[in-house]
Amino acid sequence: MKLLEPGATLDGFVVDACIHSGGMAHIYSVHYAASATSGQRDPGFPMAMKVPRMANGDGAENIVGFEVEQQILRSLKGSHVPRFVAAGDLTRVPYLVMEYVQAKPLQHWLDERRETRQPLDPATIARLGEAVARGVHSLHQQNVVHHDLKPANVLIRDDGSAVLLDFGLSYHGHYPDLLAEELRKAIGSPTWMAPEQVVGVRGDPRSDIFAIGVMLYELATGELPFGDPQTDGGLRQRLWMDPPPPRRYRPDLPPWLQEVILRCLAPAAAARYPSAAHLAAELASPEQIRITERSARTKGTSWRVHFKRWIKALGMSYKPSPLPTTQIDEVPIVMVAVPFKDATDATHFSLRTAAQRSLGSRPGARLACVTVISPSETSGTEAAKSEASVHTRYLEMLRHWAQGIDTEKHQLSLHVLESGDVAEALIDYARGNHVNVIVIGAATHGLALQRIVHTVPMKVAMEAPSTVILVKAELPFSALAELRSA
């Protein structure tokens, strides 16, 4: 379709301006035509119209990606995607109208880095990575895998949250995959494409984690981990090759960041983070990231190791993957609320048992141990009550509580929240961290007072975004002593 001039109308939308001319489509800012018959009112946000570039005579079969995007964007909810407004009939006037999101593409940080020659500080990289991972997880929760994440398709709002664009190569677990064919070919952008995508696997959420890894790598070093391959052989390199460690380009990079980046870029999907929520959780508390040998590497992997993997990779081929939601459900984030006020040993024991049970026997689940303290416990003036020292003390208590939990199988993190409203703090944490199960004590959080006031467990149970397990404490251990003396 030829370029639309400002003022032109299409299906009841008036073009304001062309805001982007890409290789595949033009993007216009639009508003509803004022018409008595259309009955369309202002949606309350600015709108953008995407119109695919098509040569005259192209049929609908040439714009499969556009059709995929129409279907998938329409199905998606939440703040991490532009809101869907309308779609044109593909055989008549193909277009897509969606929310025009005012935010900076991730590319902006890369450009800025190149221009100023100033490396990005690790905290900024972690913040950007966490935002992208949270956005991506919200897609996976809706059974969608993006499959084309790259700095041009990721926007960062002023509040720090991410918005993901361009679902033309995406996969919806509940819809027929219109991009599939019998001879499975690589579908994606070569620079960011995961190894399994190279052999034609579609629908594995961990492919998106690999793409996040490529973006983090570039944010950290200014280099691309696998370059921009132009041939099939070049593309297949990532099936067996580890990229040069980021610290080779940037020796001052903290080990935790290299650890995260290399884990995202592991050739085998199973060696990456099991879900984007896990990746986000790591980036949210870098000081608790479990460091391994790879975090300090500055030399690339030896040719011997690569040669062995290359031989193995020759046999690598397509395998179908289960639904995205099925995969991420197997690696839940369990949050346990650990109280220290008026809590007995028996309470702590029961909570630990319940938390362990919720983690299950399979590896991969993650446990976030959270305690909420009152703002009055810290003080800006007294050294002993400084925020840092109070938090350290509580972290130590949480560490004690968590002893005995299998940290080999399950990643563990500790968090001290400061709030006057315990329930709200717990709910906010659960919501912001994609928590799947909340484990909370019934008695210690005052369930017995339920008839009189809205107690913490009831409020959490009512408003939590996830399943809540209310743990009834065992008999206080002191009762055993009483029995003995009786």
């Binding site: 055989t91 509940h174 219109l178 064919e181 001879l183």
Partner: protein, 264 residues
């Protein structure tokens, strides 16, 4: 064959039910569910009888629905009940119940079944019990190849045909055109409205109301929202133990009763 132009101004929610197999409990549950979902038109894709205990009750219901505008086509078991195969030493399971079914049906019910058409076309939609490739030969659409043959035959009937929906295989499967030549197979999740845009061609086997065979007991049917171009495969729980009890009470082999609970 009856050809009707689609009505562009009326919201069409088409309920598709097939392979009812004399199972009144399952049929009533599906019809109720379809009505609750706002069905405006019913399409009954054959195999009304055979296997189950209530052939007459089902044919009476189908006749009443056709009277009210439902579309109905013939299945192989309907044909077999009208023209009972001569007794041979080796009988298929269907043939075992065909003679019994024949005896249960009145002359008018048999005449109704025998007069049913093999296909029904409504604009871009073609309904057929088995495959549009020689409908009277009851070919199975089990894979992409079978679906491709059915679609090719449908397109020769009319190039306008975009949707070929049938039953016969007792499983819910959608076949669609990917980027390659052949059709691709898709296993639907029950209850999810799947976009089936009208510029592509689709073949669906909508499953069996009265005798599911995918290991689950719930009855199967499908809803096609023509205005939204969305196809939903539906599963409906029903009282399968009552249906099984009726089969035993009728003196039919236990096998036909037992399989209902296991969905096989």
């Amino acid at each position: 064959m009856i050809v009707r132009k689609p009505n562009r101004f009326c919201l069409v929610k088409l309920a598709l039910l097939s392979d009812i197999h004399s199972n009144v409990q399952a049929f009533d549950a599906c019809v109720d569910d379809a009505n609750a979902r706002g069905a405006t038109q019913f399409a009954l894709l054959g195999d009304f009888v055979g296997y189950g205990a209530d052939p007459s009750a089902i044919v009476q219901r189908v006749m009443a629905m056709v009277e009210q505008g439902a579309w109905a086509i013939k299945g192989n078991h309907d044909d077999m009940a009208c023209h009972v195969p001569a007794q041979t030493t080796v009988q298929s399971r269907g043939e075992m119940t065909a003679a019994w079914t024949h005896a249960q049906l009145s002359a008018s019910e048999l005449a109704f079944l025998d007069a049913l058409p093999f296909t029904h076309q409504d604009g871009s939609l073609l309904l057929v019990h088995a495959s549009a490739d020689s409908p009277e030969r009851w070919r199975y659409v089990y894979d992409s190849r079978g679906a491709g043959a059915s679609l090719s035959a449908a397109v020769t009937i009319s190039p306008d045909i975009r949707y070929v929906f049938g039953g016969h295989v007792h499983e819910q499967t959608l076949y669609y055109q990917g980027r390659g030549q052949d059709l691709l197979q898709f296993m639907p999740t029950p209850g999810v409205p799947i976009p089936v845009s009208s510029h592509r061609r689709w073949v669906a086997t909508i499953g069996s109301v009265g005798q599911p065979r995918d290991g689950r007991a719930e009855a199967m049917y499908a809803m096609f929202d023509r205005d939204a171009s969305a196809l939903t495969f539906v599963r409906v729980p029903y009282d399968h133990s009552a249906a099984a009890a009726a089969i035993r009470a009728a003196g039919l082999p236990d096998f036909f009763a037992d399989r209902l609970a296991r969905g096989e």
